[in-house]
């Protein structure tokens, strides 16, 4: 799903001149690619959705509807039309901002997504925060103390993170932290007790409760989010720390580090002030991609923790051939992916002083 990434140099070479032109070319080419990606995304998802051997009418009517009702509903849903025509009708709707209705929830797909996506964003943001805040220092230290016991431990932590099935780890952590130790809260986002005494505004519950000064709700939300977010954080930590380590190692072998040492700069400044700063450029991309990955909805985590996010929403819709919901979800996830890529590219340009040189 990842669109072709434009290297800065490429964009500039093409524009071949002024900075503004370079930026313009960059944005223009990005837009073309984004539109093509969208169309492809929609077409593939749409046709896969029609090819899977599930009768979409079943999701609407269940198993016990009389044949006459089934037939009528099939016509109402336009499923008797040729595929191409169905696709055309769908695209026409999407272009006018209408993603249709979800069969399962009876809401418009956009309403549903507005409800489920904040849950995923909140979880992914929290997870990425944990992953970066812990992962970067771990990676830096592992690089600095290369070959030491510490380095080995970080590597093992990473390895476990890569290879452990998240579903299993999730259940395990539920048994331990929820059932046995009772540190974490029940799966879901909020206790039943607060469910109706608290009105969300943005859908980001941590933010909402803080704005309204309902600190008991804030604490409850935190207790719910901490475990799944830590789990996601752990997985992105594994990824981030190992890449940080290799970026820093790369920087430490550069001549400027030797020069800095020769000038008598403290190691602290060399590592945290110079090496990390230079490593930050590729690191931003890594973090952005890992964040985008989590935003796609970590289906399994959402399943284990009954987290009403977009991953669960799309999966459930797919299982029921609720194609409007699947397509809508795909478009949103695709957009986020494209946006984050663009954002990472822009950050890249800001962080790397060479791109400003001209």
């Amino acid at each position: 799903m990842e669109p072709h990434r434009l290297s800065v140099a490429e964009a500039q070479a093409e524009a071949g001149g002024s900075n503004a032109a370079a930026h313009f070319a960059f944005v223009a080419r990005f837009l073309v690619i984004a539109i093509m990606t969208y169309l492809g995304l929609l077409a593939v998802t749409f046709f896969i959705g029609r090819v899977i051997p599930i009768d979409p009418v079943l999701a609407v009517l269940g198993d016990r509807a009389p044949a006459s009702v089934v037939e009528r509903t099939r016509r109402e849903m336009g499923l008797d039309l040729p595929l191409i025509q169905q696709f055309y009708i769908y695209i026409k709707g999407v272009l006018s901002g209408d993603f249709g209705r979800s069969v399962l929830t009876t809401n418009t797909v956009m309403d549903d997504i507005r409800r489920v996506f904040p849950a995923t964003i909140e979880l992914a943001t929290f997870g990425t925060l944990i992953g970066s805040v812990v992962g970067i220092p771990l990676g830096v230290l592992a690089a600095v103390k290369r070959g030491s016991l510490f380095d080995q431990i970080v590597r093992v932590i990473g390895l476990i993170g890569y290879s452990m099935p998240i579903f299993w780890l999730g259940l395990l952590s539920l048994v331990l932290f929820y059932a046995k130790l009772q540190w974490a809260a029940f799966p879901g986002r909020l206790d039943v007790a607060y469910e109706y005494s608290f009105t969300p505004i943005t859908g980001f519950l941590l933010l909402d409760s803080a704005i309204q000064g309902q600190w008991d709700v804030f604490k409850d939300v935190l207790r719910h989010i901490l475990l799944p977010a830590s789990l996601l954080g752990y997985f992105s930590l594994a990824y981030i720390s190992s890449l940080t380590r290799s970026f820093i190692l790369n920087e430490l072998s550069q001549e400027y580090v030797v020069a800095a040492r020769a000038k008598g700069l403290s190691e602290t400044r060399i590592i945290w002030g110079h090496a990390l700063r230079n490593a930050a450029v590729p690191l931003v991309t890594v973090i952005a991609l890992s964040y985008a990955g989590l935003l796609e909805g970590s289906v399994l985590t959402e399943m284990v923790f009954s987290w009403p996010g977009i991953g669960l929403y799309v999966t459930n819709s797919l299982q029921n051939a609720d194609m409007n919901a699947v397509l809508g979800g795909t478009v949103v996830i695709g957009s986020v992916f494209i946006a984050i890529n663009l954002f990472a590219d822009l950050l890249y340009r800001l962080l790397d002083p060479r791109t400003k040189a001209q």
């Binding site: 599930i54 509807a65 979800s102 039943v192 007790a193 901490l226």
Partner: protein, 547 residues
């Protein structure tokens, strides 16, 4: 030296962060649901609408039963009898064509509006005109969009008259009227929320009878009213404080969607839910010792079966059909896979329904099955596929059958799939063997008899696609008998007819029925009055209290 220092400082910082995170998580008091709220962990992802004129799902029926009132309900003490719900009394004309119901005085909807015969008539009218999945339950009495206003009408504000097209058995008519589709909605309230529709060939009315609004709202007169339904998350119902009968004890009931048995068990043990509704045998076993939890159970009207597609020439042989019934290890399945959640049951009418036949003649007998296969000319066995959906205990049962059938030389290839995927194939008659379940549409023997023992048109585009049709089983005689049983006014004779139909299906059909579902629930011991009824629309929550 400097590096050590950094490492040390970071380590301290890391430890500090981790510790404070844990402390925050560990702080609050634990796991008590609010005293006036019942929280049930329940797989409710089957719900697609709350409109009683459209809903045909078990969980929706359960919620509906606590929100809407009916004219009559079956008497839970003796399900062959009825008691009035909204109706105070009723009379049946001598020709058995006209049913006259007199409503109780002073009935009120949750909105405060009075419940009148006009509301009943309009509820029937909207059901028939909308013509959604469950509409046939009343439609089968000869009702259609053109005549419903005449056939279901208010003769006086407190008198409702229902006219049927044939002299059906009164028990059949009343059983159908006591199903969720006959729920009475608040006409005045719903009319405020109707949406215009452009009439078409398929739908000739200019409005949606409030269908769109009622999908997510309710307008009933029962002890509860819907607060909110969030698909795949929760259904929340609140006490109806203006209920005309004895008011509910609890202020709120939350059905919280939880799919996994193990998650439900954890939450129940910790106390985050009061009731767990989808427990599997191993979790039930594990909780048997827990003094904080009691187990409630009740047989439900759902039966599990395997069926053989008669389009497959091998499976169509009578001996092969018979052989399969000897190749199921009922004892092993009963004592392990469905322990606590089901009971071996080989006839198609669930226990508790009029005409039930409590006979389980088949046992695992590989030698006998082999003999039958040989008689069918299949001495060397045969190969077939079985479509199995990915969920317990169905998967386990399929594997058990695969193994026992293998002993007789029948090679079964299991094709796993999602629920809807296997169902799609089954409905298109493209399977060899299907393993599935069937829940009664309404609490009357005709519901299962019609699907297991009748098939009016076995052609591929047959209009009535019963289970017999799905398996291409042509059975003209039994189809006639099923129809005849509908018109038998004498309940004893009617029962006898169903017993005969069950015997025939037991001996000759391509269905091997395996067990009847027992619904179980784990209940925290501070919850009093939790009772499961014989069907999902009799799982009432109005009398529940908490200590």
């Amino acid at each position: 030296m400097m590096m050590e220092n950094i490492a040390f400082r970071s380590r301290r910082w890391l430890a500090g962060t981790a510790l404070s995170a844990m402390l925050m998580a560990a702080a609050p008091a634990f796991a008590v649901t609010p005293a006036d709220t019942l929280v049930e962990g329940f797989a409710i992802d089957d719900i697609i609408t709350m409109d009683p004129g459209e809903a045909f799902e078990l969980s929706a029926a359960e919620v509906s039963a606590n929100i809407y009132d009916l004219l009559v309900r079956s008497d839970l003490a003796d399900t062959s009898k009825f008691k009035g719900d909204l109706a105070e009394s009723w009379t049946i004309s001598d020709d058995r064509l006209t049913y006259t119901f007199k409503l109780k005085p002073d009935l009120k909807f949750a909105s405060g509006n009075p419940v009148t015969a006009e509301d009943v008539a309009w509820s029937f009218e909207r059901l028939v005109k909308l013509d959604k999945s469950p509409a046939f339950i009343l439609g089968q009495f000869g009702l259609n969009g053109d005549n419903v206003a005449e056939k279901a009408k208010a003769a006086a504000p407190d008198t409702f008259v229902f006219t049927v097209d044939k002299p059906y058995a009164p028990s059949f008519v009343l059983n159908c009227l006591s199903s969720t589709v006959a729920a009475v909605v608040d006409k005045q309230v719903v009319l405020e929320h109707i949406k215009p529709v452009t009439p078409s060939v398929d739908y000739k009315y200019d409005n949606d009878f409030g269908n769109d609004w009622l999908k997510t709202h309710t307008a009933g007169s029962g002890p509860f009213k819907l607060r909110e339904w969030r698909a795949n998350e929760a259904v929340v119902i609140d006490r109806n404080d203006s209920y005309w009968g004895e008011k509910a004890k609890l202020a709120r009931v939350v059905y919280r969607h939880m799919k996994e048995s193990s998650a439900q068990r954890l939450a129940l043990e910790v106390g985050d839910i009061d009731v767990a509704r989808n427990l599997e045998p191993n979790d039930l076993d594990a909780m048997a010792e827990n003094v904080n939890i009691t187990i409630a159970s009740a047989p439900k009207g759902t039966v599990y079966y395997i069926s053989l597609n008669q389009k497959n020439p091998n499976l169509a042989k009578p001996e092969v059909r018979q052989a399969f019934k000897y190749l199921i290890d009922y004892d092993a399945i009963g004592s392990t896979l469905i322990k606590g959640i089901g009971e071996i049951h080989q006839t198609f009418l669930p226990k508790g329904v009029l005409g039930e036949l409590d006979e389980n003649p088949f046992k695992l007998d590989v030698a006998k099955a082999k003999g039958l296969l040989e008689k069918a000319g299949l001495k060397d066995g045969l190969s077939v596929t079985m479509d199995v959906r990915n969920s317990q205990p169905v998967t386990g049962i399929a594997e058990s059958i695969q193994q026992t059938a293998g002993e007789a030389g029948i090679k079964i290839e299991i094709i796993p799939g999602d629920d809807k995927q296997t169902l799609t194939k089954y409905r298109a008659r493209n399977h060899d063997i299907y393993i599935g379940q069937w829940g009664q549409d309404y609490f009357d023997p005709n519901s299962n008899s019609q699907t297991f023992a009748s098939n009016p048109d076995n052609s591929d585009d047959g209009r009535v696609q019963t289970l017999a049709w799905r398996n291409a089983w042509d059975l003209p005689d039994l189809t006639k008998e099923t129809e005849a049983a509908l018109l038998e006014k004498d309940s004893a004779k009617r029962s006898e007819m169903y017993r005969h139909l069950q015997k025939e299906v037991l001996d000759n059909s391509p269905f091997a029925l395996i067990y009847q579902q027992i619904e179980v629930a784990g209940v925290r011991s501070n919850v009093n009055g939790f009772k499961l009824g014989p069907s999902f629309d009799t799982n009432f929550v109005g009398n529940i209290t908490k200590e």
